[in-house]
Symmetry: C2
Subunit: 448 residues, 2 copies
């Protein structure tokens, strides 16, 4: 068992209950020194008692639950203490346990230990963080499925195929004189192709996976008075607004997130893009241009009831190369604007004021972003998974190409297949390094 | 058992753990419908399982603990479910249990039920809220002692004395013909005087109790450039700053709270008080004057290295009637200012810049505020307790006065003693009404 760690597991703030959790070697003994109960401590049983401070003075009353290894979240001995939800009390409790020999846990260290102790694989550990930060029901469902091991169920068979192939090639080298079964060239090709096809299936979920996790970034651009703000508000129906943690600061654009069929849609209402002489204004415009650059989809808004102006055309020139939807607004006032020059782009007519055409527009946004939410798909790979899947696929494709031309020795074949299988192993954490783990768990909150 | 209620017990925010709690009739059955575990549910035992939504789809995985009445916080059947600390999940979980027949708990309703079910008296219930919001270690200790029943230990014997007296008087009336022991006039007077003396002892803690709970309000006034901000900063040593929940808004004064020997010291650095023509500025000055009006202690700051000016004198005239400390600053530059006109006020010399004299000043602040922190005192009554204690004392004093003059019939005596005893009963909650309970519990957070 690893060294004892301690952290607050609940958010900062005043509330009914706050939880301090301990994990590692000797945590029950440490907890017992400070938490006084009448009865003997039984595993998984809620014991009422008094938590004392370093001097033996009562700090608070609460409940202690002991989880005996390996039947705990981390797989180690764990203690969870529920106290009154006062940040002062929780901070003091952590200090008390540190005085007792614990160390403050690093972000994600409890889950990291769960992974290291074999309680979950790496995709499941990642799912814990995603489950906590899920902003929509779809994101929650996807994270929960991944937590239950759905993604691993797709990755592991692919890796096993490669390891099997590896065993065959190895046997071929070592026992080439003997009469053991071996694979034909066609069988090798077919096995590798099947793995590539499995990887492709997962890769197709990557884009949507990213959108589910991070949202679709949507920039609304257009000259003044075409109804950008009305459109922003029409998309931002209050019942769908997602409360985000972003602090209110001075901004040159307004940003809000709504839930569009389970996909967080990050709406950015940009300031006008125009020639600026004032340096402060220029900074604002630069930020706006950056937002447009980062956007997954751009809504280029026009006033359909009026002729096209030079300013419309100038803005169009700036965004025409992007993933664009031309939104013809104010259709309730009639449409006079010529639309020929926008041919090749999606054109959606709406009346933001009357809420007409908004549903169509939303469909088009998901389509243009490339969102793929199908009932049959259970998993959506993350950016990390995508990168590793692409690497594995790349190695296998290069291998196949040379293998077909018979340019590969069995020794080189082994190296290639091993490399590809290691990339897949890295996804589930069967192959890992401290660097990989740090980069994953440092994004967790403390206490998880 | 009362109707089933549900609420989130942890603060809003992303974290490792979030808790949903249920209390009341049938909560185990409701919880069982949605929370699926392998084993039979045993009281006080942490069961791992999956929480389902209204449609039977998995919502999250977590731990369920069942507390069987009367061995629970509320004294009713209770269920606590630990889930991943995602506000979305916790909100959905509450919705699920509401669909199952629970109602969203009102603020403080769990603790109110604990009181109604005899798990704690009213001073203990009040202590729960105080323990959660305690901003200093002293406030926490005082709340914890009150939670353990320390205050009731002082109140109940006083009330019992009165009830005993009442029984004697009653017996005197009903069985006046018979030969039963009765009290002499001296005995009655002595009993009542003893109760009054007990009340007085508690009343002496009220001011400090208020300061421990709400802090001492300290306004710093003085003309520009006398070093108000330096003094503010010298008192606000960073290691003692208390993080408060007050939102940052445009203010005409700066307010910070520090921990001065367990007493939250609310420092207000006021804008200058001067004649204003501008209406906006006038509003600012009015707010400043209000802060001065509300202050428990005022620090009137002078630059000791310079002669007194007309502006100093004008400000002094505005505050001289208040609870004042004259702070002579910049003593490091020598003291030339005449101090005779401030005779009768506390005068403290400091160098805010060098940190000299600050400790003296702090002592004087506590002294002038009337803070009384003695080791021998275990309880500090709250404003509500103080009001009731004063009412009880008033009734008893008026009774004594007339009783000594033999103007009171036994029937009137009974009414008086009963009234006083009811006031004491209201403190601990033996006498109560729905209005009293509402006003107490509405200040709690939801989930407690």
């Amino acid at each position: 068992m690893r060294d004892p760690i301690v952290a607050v597991a609940t958010p900062f703030g005043e509330s009914a209950v706050g939880i301090v959790r301990l994990s590692g070697k000797g945590v029950l003994e440490i907890a017992r020194r400070f938490f006084k109960t009448k009865a003997e401590i039984k595993p998984r049983y809620a014991h009422y008692g008094t938590l004392l401070d370093e001097k033996g003075e009562p700090l608070d009353e609460g409940l202690l639950i002991y989880y005996k290894a390996p039947k705990s979240y981390t797989g180690e001995d764990m203690v969870e203490i529920s106290l009154h939800g006062n940040p002062l009390i929780l901070k003091r409790a952590v200090e008390v346990f540190i005085s007792g020999g614990c160390r403050l846990a690093e972000p994600g260290e409890f889950t990291k230990r769960a992974f290291l102790n074999g309680k979950m694989d790496l995709t499941q550990a990642e799912a814990v963080a995603e489950l906590i930060s899920a902003k929509t029901d779809l994101a929650r469902r996807v994270a929960l499925r991944q937590l239950k091991g759905e993604l691993s169920k797709h990755i592991k068979p692919l890796r096993e195929s490669l390891l099997q192939l590896l065993a065959y090639i190895e046997a071929d080298i070592e026992f080439s004189e003997e009469d053991i079964p071996t694979l034909t060239k066609e069988q090798v090709v077919s096995m590798v192709e099947e793995v590539i096809s499995g990887i492709d299936k997962l890769l197709r979920t990557a884009k949507t996976g990213k959108f589910i996790r991070e949202g679709v970034k949507l920039a609304i651009v257009g000259k003044p008075n075409v109804g950008k703000s009305s459109l922003f508000n029409a998309l931002l129906r209050e019942d769908r607004a997602i409360v985000t943690d972003i602090e209110g600061t001075t901004r040159d654009y307004i940003e809000e997130t709504v839930n569009l069929r389970g996909i967080p849609l990050v709406l950015v209402d940009t300031a006008g893009i125009r020639e600026a002489k004032d340096p402060v204004e220029r900074i604002g415009i630069e930020r706006t241009l950056k937002k447009i650059e980062e956007a997954d989809v751009i809504l280029f808004v026009l006033d359909g009831s009026k002729p096209l102006t030079e300013e419309d055309k100038r803005i169009y020139e700036q965004v025409r190369g992007k993933n664009l939807i031309v939104v013809v607004n104010k259709t309730d006032l009639g449409t006079v604007i010529p639309l020929e020059i926008f041919e090749g782009h999606s054109i959606i007519k709406v009346s933001a004021l009357k809420g007409e055409g908004i549903r169509n527009l939303e469909e088009e946004i998901l389509k243009r972003a490339g969102v793929l939410v199908e009932d049959g798909i259970n998993v959506y790979v993350s950016v990390r998974h995508e990168e590793l899947l692409k690497k594995a696929k790349g190695v296998l494709e290069r291998f196949l190409e040379r293998y077909r031309r018979e340019e590969v020795s069995p020794e080189i074949a082994m190296l290639d297949i091993r490399e590809a299988s290691d990339y897949l192993g890295e996804i589930v954490g069967e192959i890992t390094t401290e660097d990989i783990l740090s980069s994953i768990f440092s994004r967790f909150c403390i206490g998880k």
